[in-house]
C-alpha cells in the first residue's frame, strides 16, 4: 500500500536528515525530495486501498488521502521557507518525522494505534521549538507543551483502552465518564480554551516556522484524528444517548470560538492574533462535530484544514515581518509582500467567499442555528470579532505606508508561499466539490457509526 511506503520513506528521510542536518542546503533538498515523493505516492494510490504492518491495519480513505496531501504540501512549503528565509537545521528532520507520523495518524485503522502515532507526532516538534535557549523562554514553552501532550495523551489512550476492554453490560455513566476524559484529553492537545495556556507561551517564544508546523499541520491532524477515533472507538452511540458529552463538546467549542476571537481582537502581536484565530476556528469546528450532523461534520473538518493552511501562510508572513522590522513595529514598508500574504491569509481564515474556507464556515453556522439560535448567533459574533481583529492588523501593517519608501524583501519566500496557498484556496473555492466530497464521505461513516442499524 502506497501510504505505508510514504510513511517509511518519510521516516527514513527524517533519520538521514538528522545525520546531515548541519548541511542546510543538502538536507533541505533531501526533505523536499522526500516530501515530493510521498505526495506522489499518496496521490497515485487508490482510494480505500488497505494494507497492514505486523497486525496494524492501514486504510487510505478519501479524507485520509486528501488530508495527507494537504498536510504534506504545507510541510513542503514550510521546508522551503525555512531553507530560504529562516535557516534552522533542526527543523528539517522534525518536519519529515512529523509528516510521516501525520500520514500514519490519518491512515491507521485502530483507535489505539491512531492515538499512539498522534502523541509521537505531537512530541516531535519539541525539537524545533527550542532555540537560543539562554536568550529566551523557548525551553519553558517546550516543557509546558510536552507536559500537556503527555498528560492529555496518556489520559486519552487510557480512556480508549478502558472503553475497548469494557464488558457490554456497563452502566451508561461509565461510557460517559470515559467519553468525557477523551474529550478533555483532546482539548488539552488541541489547545482549546480553557486548556490553551501552553499555546500562549509557545506563541511568543517558539520560531514562526515551528508554530506553523504545530498550528498549520498538527492541530488539523489532531482534530481529524479525534473525529476518526470517535467513529472507530464505538463511543458515539453512548454519546448520542447521553446528552452530557454533547453538551461538553458544545461548551468547549463555544468557549474556544468566542474566547479565541476576543483574545485575537485584543492581540498586540501578529503571531498571537493568528494562533487565537486558529483556536477560535477550532471552537467553531468543535461545535460542528457536537451537532452530530452531516453538514456540521463536513463543515468542521473543512474549517480545520483551511485554518491550517491559512495559519501557515499568516505565521510565516508574521515571522518575516518581525525579522524585517528588527525589533520595531512590523510594517508593510519593510516587507510588503509578506504583509500582503498576511492580510490575504486573514481573509481565508475568516472564510470570506469565494475562498474555500467559506463553505465550511457556512455549513457549521447554518447547522448551529438549526440546533439553537443562541449557538448560531455566538458563532457569527465570533466570526465578526475575527474579522475586526484581522482588519485591525491589516490597517496597522499598511497604515504607515504612504509617504515613505517601500523596500521589497530580498527573498520574498513568505510572499511566494502566501501566493501559492491563496491560489489553492481560490481554486478550492471555485471547484468546492473536489475538497468537500472526501469530507462528505467521512461524514457518512461518522453518521453510520452513530446509528449502526
Amino acid at each position: 500500500m502506497n501510504a505505508i511506503e510514504a510513511i517509511a520513506l518519510l521516516g527514513g528521510a527524517a533519520l538521514a536528515a538528522f545525520g546531515l542536518r548541519k548541511r542546510v542546503w543538502l538536507v533541505a533538498l533531501l526533505s523536499l525530495a522526500a516530501i515530493g515523493t510521498a505526495i506522489w505516492l499518496i496521490a497515485a494510490a487508490d482510494v480505500d486501498s488497505t494494507g497492514a504492518v505486523l497486525e496494524l491495519t492501514f486504510r487510505l480513505s478519501a479524507l485520509a488521502r486528501m488530508a495527507s496531501l494537504v498536510v504534506l504540501a504545507i510541510l513542503a512549503l514550510l521546508v522551503l521557507d525555512v531553507w530560504l528565509g529562516e535557516p534552522a537545521y533542526n527543523f528539517f528532520p522534525v518536519a519529515l518525522a512529523v509528516g510521516g507520523s501525520a500520514v500514519a495518524v490519518l491512515t491507521l485503522g485502530t483507535p489505539l494505534a491512531i492515538y499512539g502515532a498522534l502523541i509521537v507526532a505531537l512530541l516531535i516538534p519539541v525539537g524545533s521549538f527550542t532555540f537560543q535557549v539562554h536568550r529566551n523562554r523557548s525551553v519553558e514553552a517546550a516543557v509546558r507543551h510536552f507536559a500537556f501532550v503527555a498528560l492529555g495523551g496518556s489520559l486519552g489512550i487510557a480512556s480508549l483502552a478502558l472503553a475497548a476492554s469494557l464488558p457490554k453490560d456497563q452502566p451508561a455513566t461509565t461510557f460517559v465518564l470515559l467519553a468525557v476524559i477523551l474529550v478533555v484529553a483532546f482539548a488539552l492537545k488541541l489547545a482549546a480554551i480553557p486548556f490553551h495556556t501552553h499555546a500562549a507561551l509557545l506563541v511568543s517564544e517558539a520560531p514562526a516556522a515551528s508554530l506553523a508546523l504545530y498550528f498549520g499541520v498538527l492541530v488539523p491532524t489532531t482534530f481529524i484524528a479525534f473525529a476518526e477515533i470517535l467513529v472507530l472507538s464505538g463511543l458515539l452511540p453512548a454519546i448520542v444517548q447521553v446528552q452530557r458529552v454533547q453538551d461538553l463538546l458544545l461548551g468547549i467549542g463555544l468557549l474556544s470560538a468566542i474566547g479565541g476571537a476576543l483574545l485575537a481582537t485584543g492581540a498586540l502581536e501578529l503571531r498571537r492574533l493568528v494562533v487565537y484565530g486558529v483556536i477560535s476556528n477550532l471552537g467553531a469546528a468543535l461545535v460542528g462535530i457536537a451537532t452530530l450532523s452531516g453538514p456540521g461534520i463536513v463543515g468542521a473538518v473543512a474549517i480545520m484544514l483551511v485554518s491550517g493552511a491559512c495559519a501557515t501562510q499568516q505565521l510565516l508572513a508574521a515571522g518575516t515581518l518581525e525579522r524585517r522590522a528588527a525589533g520595531g513595529r512590523p510594517s508593510a514598508r519593510t516587507a510588503p509582500l509578506a504583509a500582503l500574504a498576511f492580510v490575504v491569509g486573514g481573509a481565508g481564515m475568516i472564510g470570506i467567499p469565494p475562498l474555500v474556507g467559506f463553505p465550511g464556515r457556512f455549513f457549521v453556522e447554518l447547522i448551529a442555528y438549526a440546533f439553537s439560535g443562541g449557538i448560531g448567533t455566538a458563532l457569527v459574533v465570533a466570526a465578526l470579532l475575527l474579522l475586526i481583529a484581522q482588519l485591525r492588523a491589516g490597517i496597522a501593517l499598511f497604515g504607515d505606508v504612504g509617504g515613505s519608501p517601500i523596500r521589497i524583501e530580498p527573498r520574498p519566500v513568505a510572499g511566494l508561499v502566501g501566493a501559492l496557498i491563496f491560489a489553492a484556496l481560490l481554486l478550492g473555492g471555485v471547484i468546492p466539490d473536489s475538497f468537500l466530497k472526501p469530507i462528505a464521505a467521512f461524514a457518512d461513516e461518522f453518521l453510520k457509526a452513530i446509528n449502526p442499524l
Partner: protein, 195 residues
C-alpha cells in the same frame, strides 16, 4: 500483590528523591515490576518488548542527568502526589473497573490472569504520573511523570482483547520517544540555567 506494593514503593522512591539519577533508577524498578505483573495477561514477546522500552527510557533519563547531583527538589509535592494517587486509584478502580467483577483469587507473587492487579497498577501509575506532571516545576519531574503515565498506559493496553504485538511495539516506541524528548528538554533546560 507483593508486586503491587513494590510498584507503589518504587514510585514513591522515584517521586521522593531530588536527584534525577536516583529517580531514573527507581523508575527502572517500576518498569520492571510493571512488566513482571503483566506476565499473566501478555505473551513472552510482549513482556520482552515492554521490559526493553522501560530499560531504554530509564537509561535515557539517567544519561540526561549528566551528574549525580542534578534534579528537582520535590518538597511538599511528594505528599500531594501520593495522596492524589491513592485517592484517584481507588476512585478509578471503583468507577472504571473493566476486568472481572467477581472477587478474584490473587496470587501473592507474579502476574494474575484476571488482570485485576494489572489494572490497579495502571491506575496507580497514571494517577501518580498525573500528580507529578501537574505539580512539577522543571523538565526533570515532568519527564518522570510522563514516563510513569506511559507505563500505566502500556498496562491498560495489555488488557484490551486481542492486544497485539504490534500495539505493544508501538507503545514501547512511544515510551522511548517520551523519554527521549524529556531528556532533550532536561539537557536544554540545564544549558539555559548554566549559561
Amino acid at each position: 500483590m507483593i508486586l503491587l506494593g513494590f510498584i507503589a514503593l518504587a514510585t514513591l522512591a522515584a517521586t521522593g528523591t531530588k536527584q534525577l539519577r536516583y529517580s531514573a533508577a527507581a523508575f527502572l524498578l517500576v518498569a520492571l515490576a510493571a512488566t513482571w505483573i503483566s506476565t499473566g495477561v501478555a505473551s513472552l514477546a510482549q513482556v520482552a518488548v515492554t521490559g526493553c522500552s522501560g530499560l531504554v527510557a530509564a537509561a535515557l533519563l539517567f544519561v540526561a542527568a549528566s551528574d549525580a547531583r542534578y534534579g528537582e527538589e520535590p518538597g511538599w509535592r511528594v505528599w500531594l502526589a501520593t495522596a492524589f494517587a491513592a485517592t484517584a486509584t481507588s476512585a478509578g478502580f471503583a468507577a472504571l473497573r473493566t476486568v472481572s467483577a467477581e472477587t478474584p483469587q490473587l496470587p501473592l507473587f507474579g502476574g494474575d490472569p484476571t488482570g485485576v492487579t494489572v489494572q490497579v497498577a495502571a491506575f496507580w501509575l497514571l494517577a501518580s504520573g498525573a500528580a507529578i506532571l501537574l505539580t512539577a516545576r522543571t523538565a526533570v519531574r515532568m519527564s518522570l511523570g510522563a514516563v510513569l503515565m506511559i507505563t500505566g498506559v502500556q498496562l491498560l493496553v495489555r488488557l484490551v482483547t486481542g492486544s497485539s504485538l504490534a500495539l505493544t511495539l508501538l507503545f514501547a516506541w512511544l515510551e522511548v520517544v517520551v523519554a527521549l524528548v524529556g531528556a532533550f528538554l532536561i539537557i536544554n533546560e540545564r544549558a539555559a540555567i548554566d549559561l
